[in-house]
């Protein structure tokens, strides 16, 4: 196995050897189990889905479905590209799509792709190029959710293990792979859509961020993301790389453990929002690669993003006053749990602790190793008073995120805000995008007015790409070779 440009003796040239992209370890090729960014990234290049998110602005664009319509958000009709085929010649038609949904929804499959699909009441194929999906309640977000669902070939799947084998239908085919080290892709000349610009693409598994940086510097990689803000600055000095950052889709917040009396008072929660100077932290720890979040866990472009909502102002005097009114004039001690699961979170948490100390709030910081973070954040009783978390949605839908702050949320510690819960339920059943956007804005205002979160900043999506490669940064963290092309 020879990697595209892994010579180590000269800078990688995307023009003559395809493109070499850094990836985190891969787990599976099976669409029923893929959930990580890296798995979904590969899958979206070797398989097809009904819809896909544009790499330009994240908007929803056709893929296997040329067009789609809906009736009251409950009955969706997708018209498919005629003549689409898998690499083995099996047709990728409406019947194949129906079979895939049956497989996904069958409990025996034990799929880990959980996305409210129990709302789907039927999937039918009236003809080979038409798929009709009906839902039990209005579900306007369905076409966007379907952008993460790729399709297998039904006949082929009977005799193959789709977790480790691929019968592709996307812009690339898999030449060879080892989940621990690489996946080598070659352009699929029979792809029904726009052909990939690079003939070859190699994803090299490099889990360690330091190694990603050294591989970039040595010229072994054409693309890497998840680079620390400090490394972004250092790599900027290299002439053959375009290095940068955009605010990503994952928003960092502090959540309150509502089982604790000290944070049950809304004035305490508001005080914490006032006491943190987000601009200072984003400028220093994140080197200006992101900016303070507005009082909503959404970013521009997502349905319901409210342009009028601004970042919570920094006002330590107001924070002190609110704490005094809440009975904490002499000070308050809170514990805060954080892990390096989120970019620069431990460093940011230390800065937050220092800023809160200035208004009389003593923070006892618990920096938790990533390996036990999952366990740590699921135990509210033993948990800390505050939790540093980052929230993102796989497909960019707003309700996936908003769900997390209702009583149903995995990390909702103690009682949630019932008005917010009711507002989110209304959002889910909206029948038009306009009314849904308005309901989302209303729900987000309820959450902000109750200061259920301390709004921090969107995690920056950091990247470095060879100047020989043309690529538009996208907020969903998915580095797809099929979105790249040789620079002119």
């Amino acid at each position: 196995m020879i990697f595209g440009a892994a010579s180590g003796s000269r800078p990688a040239s995307a023009a003559d050897s395809g493109v070499t992209v850094a990836s985190l370890p891969l787990l599976t090729f099976d669409p029923a189990f893929a959930r990580t960014v890296q798995d979904l990234s590969i899958m979206s290049q070797v398989y097809s889905s009904l819809t896909t998110a544009s790499f330009v602005d994240g908007s929803l664009v056709p893929n296997l479905a040329r067009e789609w319509t809906d009736v009251d958000g409950k009955e969706f009709t997708f018209k498919l590209v005629p003549g689409a085929k898998f690499a083995n010649g099996e047709p990728l038609d409406a019947n194949a799509v129906v079979w895939n949904f049956k497989r996904l929804l069958d409990p025996a499959t034990q799929s880990t792709v959980i996305a409210d699909f129990n709302m789907i009441s039927s999937v039918e194929a009236p003809d080979p190029t038409t798929v009709v999906i009906k839902t039990s309640t209005p579900w306007l977000e369905l076409p966007r959710r379907l952008s993460a669902i790729s399709f297998l070939a039904p006949e082929w799947s009977k005799t193959h293990n789709p977790k480790v084998e691929v019968n592709p239908s996307g812009p690339y085919v898999v030449v060879n792979y080892d989940f621990a080290s690489h996946v080598t892709l070659k352009r699929n000349e029979n792809f029904f859509g726009e052909k990939a610009a690079f003939e070859n693409a190699t994803y090299r598994v490099i889990g360690n961020s330091q190694t990603r940086v050294t591989s970039l510097r040595s010229g072994e990689l054409n693309f890497a993301n998840n680079i620390s803000p400090l490394d972004v600055q250092q790599l900027s000095s290299l002439q053959d790389l375009n290095v940068g950052a955009i605010p990503g889709r994952r928003v960092h917040v502090l959540r309150f453990n509502m089982l604790r009396d000290s944070v049950k008072d809304v004035r305490v929660r508001q005080a914490l929002n006032y006491a943190i100077n987000k601009d200072l932290i984003t400028a220093s720890i994140y080197r200006g690669q992101t900016k303070a979040a507005t009082t909503q866990v959404l970013i521009p472009g997502q349905v319901g993003f409210d342009e009028t909502m601004k970042a919570w102002p920094y006002d330590p005097a107001k924070a002190r006053q609110l704490l005094a009114e809440a009975g904490y004039a002499k000070g308050l001690t809170l514990s805060l749990g954080v892990s390096d699961e989120y970019l620069q979170a431990p460093q940011a948490a230390q800065a937050i602790a220092a800023q809160l100390a200035e208004v009389g709030v003593t923070i006892k910081l618990q920096i938790v190793p990533t390996a036990i973070w999952t366990s740590f954040i699921t135990d509210a009783q033993k948990g800390t008073d505050l939790l540093y978390l980052g929230f993102s949605s796989t497909t960019g839908t707003s309700t996936e995120l908003m769900n997390q702050f209702t009583g149903k949320g995995r990390y909702t510690w103690g009682p949630s805000n019932p008005d917010y819960d009711a507002a989110v339920e209304k959002v889910k059943t909206a029948t038009s995008l306009e009314s849904q956007a308005e309901l989302i804005r209303k729900a987000n205002r309820i959450l902000a007015d109750d200061a259920q979160l301390v709004y921090l900043w969107p995690q920056p999506f950091t990247y470095a790409v060879s100047k020989s490669v043309e690529w538009t940064p996208r907020a969903d963290d998915r580095p797809r070779a099929s979105d790249m092309r040789p620079a002119k």
């Binding site: 892994a6 889990g207 149903k408 949320g409």
Partner: protein, 323 residues
């Protein structure tokens, strides 16, 4: 009579010095350590989080995660899961990888050659370097020979292998551009990780070899050899160095375990597709069958290496098995 005694002497010489009881004792001890390691890792994997929490997408609700846990049986009490796990192993049904669906041992065995290539080469090279430096520092003619090489190795030992790896990458990959930084596409990818691991092995071997040689230098059998008029060089090699090999052999065996542990860090740093990297990934993604299979194989490998070393030590010095 003379013939019979002659035959007995010959039989005694041909008989292996290793007693079956000794091997049995070691094998049973190995099995216990294997069981202990698996139990500890099993409990730790489960104590550090319900695998369903990791398997589910991050936007899943608490209810959806609970349903997933029920489907996979992760909602059962831990002692029941542990019992089922042991029963399945006894019946030869080791669970498959949660992500690839392939047998967990197959996933690990696939990477064993890579790790053995890395680990064994590093141990052999590290041990050779350690032995040479240990010998020179004990028997070198000049003070410089006796002091400088071993001091240099001591400096290497004080550098953590993660940092050592980064230094090597910086120098050989970024500055000189001679070698690739990571991956495993050719033999050139092996040089830096092997050097990193060998730097961990060599100083320990050198120190013990030197101190053991110094310790036994004035023992009676060495003095006797000198009194026989054997050359000083021959005394040092045949009597001093050879007799100092016993404890060093044990240490090299133990170093193999250390190298396997160190490989976790080195394989991650150099993005080298070995068992260590797989183990880290399996723990992070909670692919517990693969994590347990990796631990079992590493533990088994360590036990076998340890047994071989004990056998080797007994061959070198038969008194060892009585201790």
């Amino acid at each position: 009579m003379a013939t019979i005694s002659h035959f007995k002497a010959l039989q005694a010489r041909l008989r292996s010095p290793i007693e079956v009881r000794f091997l049995l004792r070691r094998a049973i001890g190995g099995l216990f350590s294997l069981w202990g390691a698996v139990t500890i890792v099993f409990l730790m994997l489960y104590a550090t989080g319900n695998p369903a929490e990791v398997l589910a997408p991050e936007t899943a609700t608490a209810e959806q995660v609970a349903e997933l846990a029920r489907q996979y049986g992760f909602d059962q009490p831990i002692y029941l899961q542990y019992r089922n796990f042991l029963v399945n192993i006894m019946q030869g049904n080791f669970p498959n990888s949660l992500y690839t669906g392939r047998p967990a041992f197959q996933e690990v065995l696939y990477r064993v050659p890579n790790t053995l290539l890395l680990g064994l080469t590093a141990v052999v090279l590290g041990a050779l370097l350690g032995l040479v430096v240990g010998y020179v520092s004990s028997s070198g003619r000049s003070r410089i020979m006796r002091v400088v090489p071993i001091r240099l190795l001591m400096i290497l030992q004080s550098v953590p292998n993660f940092f050592m790896g980064l230094l090597l990458i910086y120098f050989f990959s970024l500055t000189l551009r001679w070698l690739p930084t990571s991956g495993f596409s050719s033999w050139r990818n092996l040089i830096l990780p092997i050097t990193t691991l060998a730097c961990y092995v060599a100083p320990n071997v050198a120190r013990l070899f030197r101190s053991t040689m110094n310790e036994i230098r004035f023992e009676e059998h060495i003095q006797t050899a000198r009194a026989k008029g054997i050359s000083e060089r021959a005394v040092r090699i045949r009597h001093n160095a050879i007799n100092a090999l016993g404890p060093v052999t044990t240490l090299i065996g133990l170093q193999l375990g250390g190298v396997l542990a160190g490989a976790v860090v080195v394989e991650t740093l150099f993005a080298y597709p070995g068992v260590g990297q797989l183990l880290v990934q399996a723990v992070v993604s909670r692919d517990y069958p693969v994590a347990l299979a990796a631990v079992i194989l590493v533990c088994l490998g360590y036990n076998i290496a340890s047994l071989l070393v004990d056998v080797l030590v007994v061959i070198i010095d038969p008194r060892a098995q009585k201790r």
